[in-house]
């Protein structure tokens, strides 16, 4: 604090007051942030403990010795590599398909005029409030008829069609200036051409947001794999972890190692794509 400020007695009061307030804000936020992060640290610490170390009370934080072998043992006791590959494969394919289907639909609903457009859009939008569980049983039957039960098709095809993706991209496309398209029209470009070479490149941020959000949803999805997949080698990470939990009910160090493996890829992506995660949530808030 400068001498000049100290001379002004009144200002010092507000300055100190602001400092105290800021200090309190930090204390509250730190307490909250610790509560948020502690479970993850506990998971990490537990995953590196010996079985003996796990069962001491009160619990200790620092594993001694540090059991990196837990991860090795865990990988040997269930096909985690296969689970991870399945999760990656399913999530990536859903992302690609979902973004394409949503972008095509969104382009038509945002930029092209055709009879029935608004009615169709409202009907699709209205399905957002329908709980997944209402359509779950007939969807199961359809997938059985198609011979897709216990295959990855059951996990990949149904989530391609969502009102959320359509809505998010349509919202973005509506904001693109009409002039861009009109210039291309005069040059004789067709609608598919405008879509591919004007609309899509300009919408890269929105497409990325949808892609990241879709990836996260698919990677973390549990109910669909639980219902549709039985084969050990077709399971995704979430389902694999749940199965692992059923087998190794008391081996908490291995279970924590497994949980960490499930979380790691998403945390890794978050580091690089933070703003897209946040934007995805904000967009879901815009439905209002």
């Amino acid at each position: 604090m400068s001498v000049k400020n100290e001379a002004q007695a009144g200002r010092i009061d507000t300055k100190t007051k602001n400092r105290i307030i800021r200090f309190c804000v930090h204390v509250m936020l730190i307490a909250g942030a610790i509560t948020m992060i502690l479970p993850f640290l506990w998971m990490l610490s537990s995953s590196l403990k010996t079985t003996n170390d796990m069962y001491t009370f009160p619990p200790t934080w620092i594993p001694n010795p540090v059991m990196w072998e837990n991860y090795l043992y865990m990988f040997q006791s269930a096909p985690w590599g296969v689970y991870a590959w399945n999760s990656l494969k399913v999530s990536v394919l859903v992302v690609i398909g979902h973004v394409i289907v949503s972008a095509m639909g969104a382009y038509a609903f945002a930029r092209l005029k055709f009879p029935g457009r608004n009615v169709l859009f409202i009907i699709i939008l209205a399905t957002m409030m329908i709980p997944y569980h209402v359509t779950m049983i007939p969807t199961f039957k359809i997938l059985r008829e198609l011979g897709w039960l216990n295959t990855h098709w059951a996990l990949i095809i149904p989530p391609l069609f969502s009102a959320f993706g359509l809505f998010l991209l349509r919202q973005f496309f509506l904001g693109i200036p009409k002039e861009l398209e009109e210039a291309a029209r005069i040059d004789g470009a067709s609608y598919p051409r405008i879509f591919v070479s004007i609309i899509l490149p300009i919408s890269l941020p929105a497409l990325t947001t949808l892609a990241i959000f879709t990836f996260m949803t698919q990677w973390n999805d549990f109910l669909a794999p639980l219902i549709y997949i039985n084969d050990e080698l077709l399971k995704t990470l979430s389902l694999g972890l749940a199965t692992f939990q059923g087998t190794y009910t008391t081996q908490w160090n291995y279970l924590m190692a497994g949980s960490f493996i499930v979380l790691l890829p998403i945390l890794f992506i978050y580091i690089f794509a933070q703003r897209y995660f946040i934007e995805g949530v904000m967009m879901s808030g815009m439905k209002e």
């Binding site: 506990w42 639980l226 439905k287």
Partner: protein, 294 residues
């Protein structure tokens, strides 16, 4: 092909072409299942043998099914436990993060991490945190000489344990929506209030909270809708127990549909859930009295 294109004009033609994939998808995986499920709820169906039409019998049976009524009760307690407290905490964190302070990004990340992580994985972690013999939570409580609750092992505490964990998981989601709402409030309002001598609490209660009422309505309604559909954490942490004390409605639907093979009965339950959510959404639309998004 060319003649159809001419008939309806190029623009309309391509409009229909572009919406074809999503329309087929919605027809197969949304509109048909919606109707099939309604019909199924009026039948007795084990999913293998041909189903037989029984009218509203599933619905009348449900009204006397103690397990179903219990699942409704458990779900309502879960909703009441997570939604208001979750919204208030999210607002509080958002207001704190909206100050001009350092490390905002680090704090925001800390609160947001649980949102992006797999429910199955964090539910597994929390199960271990709640462990009554060796868990971290009771370990800390013991160190402080406090009461050590039996958490997931007891009928009284299990649902509360799931509620606490779910608030922890969802806090960051609502926080981000509140932060977006806060950014829409003009700074000049606060400055004017400051000049008039309003203190921080007065500004919070007379400017921030009233101006965020639409955001709050949205957060509350979305949280209610999501909370009614809680499943993953129940499946992982308690499997509905002990003694059905955490058997929420979706868990009971899942059991009936895929473990007991009572698909007609399960469909009727799903439709009751749908009706509840429909009513809530309808109330939301009435309150906001919004013009449609188109």
């Amino acid at each position: 092909m060319e003649s159809i294109r001419k008939l309806m004009g190029r623009e309309a033609f391509w409009g229909y072409v572009f919406i074809t994939p999503i329309l087929i998808g919605f027809a197969v995986f949304m509109f048909y299942p919606l109707i099939a499920s309604l019909y199924l709820s009026l039948t007795e169906s084990d999913g293998i043998n041909p189903s037989s039409f029984i009218g509203l019998e599933n619905y009348t049976t449900l009204m006397a099914d103690e397990e179903f009524l219990n699942s409704l009760k458990v779900t309502l307690i879960y909703v009441a436990g997570t939604v208001p407290l979750g919204a208030i905490l999210a607002l509080l964190v958002a207001v704190l993060l909206n100050q001009k302070i350092r490390f905002v990004n680090a704090y925001r990340t800390a609160f947001f991490i649980p949102v992006i992580t797999s429910m199955v994985a964090v539910a597994t972690v929390w199960k271990w945190l709640y462990n009554t013999d060796y868990g971290l939570i009771n370990g800390m409580l013991a160190k402080m000489g406090l009461y050590e609750p039996p958490w997931l092992a007891s009928e009284e505490w299990a649902l509360l344990s799931i509620i606490i964990m779910s608030i922890w998981k969802g806090l960051g989601f609502n926080m981000v929506i509140y932060l977006a709402g806060l950014q829409n409030i003009s700074v000049s309002l606060y400055e004017a209030a400051k000049i008039d001598g309003a203190n921080g609490f007065q500004r919070l209660f007379h400017i921030t909270i009233p101006l965020l009422r639409h955001t709050t309505l949205f957060v509350v309604i979305m949280s209610i809708i999501n909370s009614f559909q809680v499943f993953d954490q129940v499946y992982i942490m308690t499997n509905g127990g002990p003694a059905d004390s955490t058997s929420v409605i979706v868990f009971y639907i899942y059991q009936n549909a895929f473990l007991f093979f009572k698909q007609g009965y399960a469909s009727a339950m799903a439709y009751i859930l749908f009706i509840i959510i429909f009513i809530i959404t309808f109330i939301q639309m009435k309150i906001t009295n919004r013009k449609d998004v188109v």
